[in-house]
């Protein structure tokens, strides 16, 4: 499973990415998780299973959907989960969305 996170400058998602990697390892999930500023994320998106946006760039969702050509799901992370860096919930959401 490959998860791409994107936010404004790739700073705050890089905090989240560490927590998510730890959480995935703890749960024994084989996951590649990356965090990037949106533009870079879209450049590197090939091969990823899902694109998750930080809530601060929720307005870019439509554009991101167009950019990935509907090939993979694009979701906005819930504000509370993002703020509390709730890695467990975000990973669970990602898995549910990919399998949906």
């Amino acid at each position: 499973m490959k998860i791409m996170l994107a936010c404004n400058a790739g700073m705050s998602t890089s905090l989240l990415v560490q927590k998510m990697r730890k959480e995935a390892a703890a749960q024994g999930i084989d996951a590649t998780i990356e965090a990037n500023p949106l533009n870079k994320a879209l450049e590197k998106i090939d091969g990823f299973d899902i694109l998750m946006l930080g809530p601060q760039i929720s307005y870019a969702k439509d554009d991101a959907v167009k950019a990935v050509d509907g090939k993979i799901p694009v979701v906005v992370i819930a504000m509370a989960d993002y703020g509390r860096m709730n890695a467990k919930k975000i990973i669970a959401d990602a898995i549910a969305t990919i399998n949906a």
Binding site: A9, Q56, A80, G83
Partner: protein, 445 residues
């Protein structure tokens, strides 16, 4: 009552929606992306300027100092004094990417070539200042065209040129088909040849007309008609900047990043001002009053712990809060907060849609912008002359931005104390409101 709340909500939603639309507009977004890509070379220039003008003079003098400063001057030449050229290429690239045009590198070429096409073909050099003799020299570029003074010309010309270029590139008839079996790279270069030829010819025609009819050039026109008025608005007191950041920070309280507004309306011109200051300082000049307001006033003095100066809310929480949830989120947020990253605070504490905390989140930065600008004007702290990354921790950032003025560090200490005092009552109100909500919720159960 309920209706009123609904109306307020829809107004805020509308505000968020319009801001997002503006922030998403392709030209403005390309402008923001290009400046963001450009930032590392400005930071590098800042380091070079600091070392050249603050560190080297500490232990070197005369010829040895001059020899050592050649290093920093070389960096200034390649970064600050060439930044318009670099930006013209970057903006072409970013615009192409955002337009999903399949040949962004061609747009880099068009952007740079178009900017240079608009430059004066001869420069006037003074031979004898006393006698007033001058000579026109061809084959030379002025750093006032290629450097920080040309940044707005680079943006405008770069965007216009690549827009025209992309338009012409979409016309199938203009594509030269070399047939099958031709390597794609070769095919691509032929495909863009005709559109590029047309675009650059149009640019050159404009340049020739401006020179022939009015003996001027587009860079000079943009400097007078665009750059100068924008600089003046930003420096006619702190009002313009305060208004922009009020809306920007309010937007963040609705969950959308403040740079959606500030990155378009304020940051380009404020960045030009600080970059100007770096160039002036590197050349040993005095910073003019109309450059006192610049990017560092915001990023160094009004972004302590991130947007809204939330570091002080965290300090208040550690010292005065008994709320376990708040303390947990503060613990999680303090380390990124020191480096001015505060999404955990904004979404986790939370600030978003939390009225008691929205007030200080918007007011504190406004006050600090105005006060820092005022203190600079009356000479109590030195004007900012170095662009430091926005992730630089407080106290260090003030010292670096002012090229080593300790009064700026003392001011930051005062800022911390004052902001803690402002945040404290609002934090208490917020906690009381949250406790009440919990109570109500449990009553309903």
């Amino acid at each position: 009552m309920a209706e009123e709340v609904e109306e307020k909500k829809s107004f805020l939603d509308k505000f968020a929606e319009v801001s997002a639309k503006v922030g998403n507009q392709v030209h403005l977004r390309s402008l923001r992306d290009a400046f963001a890509t450009m930032t590392p070379i400005y930071i590098l220039a800042g380091i070079a300027v600091l070392i050249n003008n603050v560190v080297f003079p500490l232990f070197l003098a005369d010829d040895a100092l001059k020899a050592a400063q050649y290093w920093g001057n070389a960096i200034t030449l390649g970064t600050l004094n060439f930044s318009a050229i670099i930006l013209a290429g970057l903006i072409g690239y970013c615009f192409a990417r955002n337009k999903r045009f399949d040949n962004p590198i061609a747009c880099v070429v068009v952007g740079i070539a178009s900017l240079v096409i608009m430059m004066p073909q001869t420069v006037t050099a003074t031979i004898d200042a006393k006698a007033g003799t001058t000579a026109d020299i061809s084959g030379a570029f002025l750093t006032s065209s290629t450097g920080t003074n040309g940044l707005f010309a680079a943006i405008i010309i770069g965007l216009i040129a690549t827009t025209i270029f992309i338009k012409f590139s979409s016309i199938e008839k203009l594509k030269i088909n070399l047939g099958e079996g031709v390597p794609p790279a070769v095919g691509d270069s032929f495909n863009v040849m005709t559109p590029m030829l047309i675009t650059l010819s149009i640019m050159a025609l404009v340049s020739a007309l401006l020179f022939g009819l009015f003996s001027t050039n587009l860079l000079a026109i943009i400097a007078v008609a665009v750059t100068a008025p924008l600089k003046n608005i930003m420096n006619a007191g702190p009002l313009a900047v305060v208004i922009i950041y009020t809306f920007a920070n309010l937007l963040f309280c609705l969950g959308i990043h403040q740079s959606t507004i500030s990155g378009v309306l304020a940051e380009p011109i404020l960045t030009v001002l600080i970059v100007d200051n770096m160039a002036t300082f590197a050349a040993g000049g005095t910073i003019p009053v109309d450059h006192y307001m610049n990017m560092q006033i915001v990023n160094t003095f009004a972004l302590i712990g991130g947007s809204g100066c939330t570091l002080m809310l965290l300090f208040d929480t550690f010292l005065f809060s008994k709320n376990e949830t708040s303390r947990d989120i503060a613990k999680l947020s303090i380390l990124p907060g020191i480096f001015n990253i505060n999404e955990p605070v904004i979404y986790g504490y939370p600030i978003v849609y939390n009225l008691p905390l929205i007030i200080p989140f918007v007011v504190v930065p406004d006050l600090l912008i105005a006060a820092t600008y005022g203190l600079t004007c009356i000479g109590l702290i030195s004007p900012c002359v170095v662009m430091v990354p926005w992730t630089t921790p407080v106290l260090l950032s003030g010292w670096l931005a002012t090229a080593g003025d300790f009064r700026a560090v003392i001011w930051q200490v005062i800022e911390i104390a004052a902001s803690m005092a402002i945040y404290l009552p609002f934090m208490k109100i917020s906690e009381r409101a949250q406790a009440k909500q919990l109570e109500n919720a449990s009553e309903e159960d």
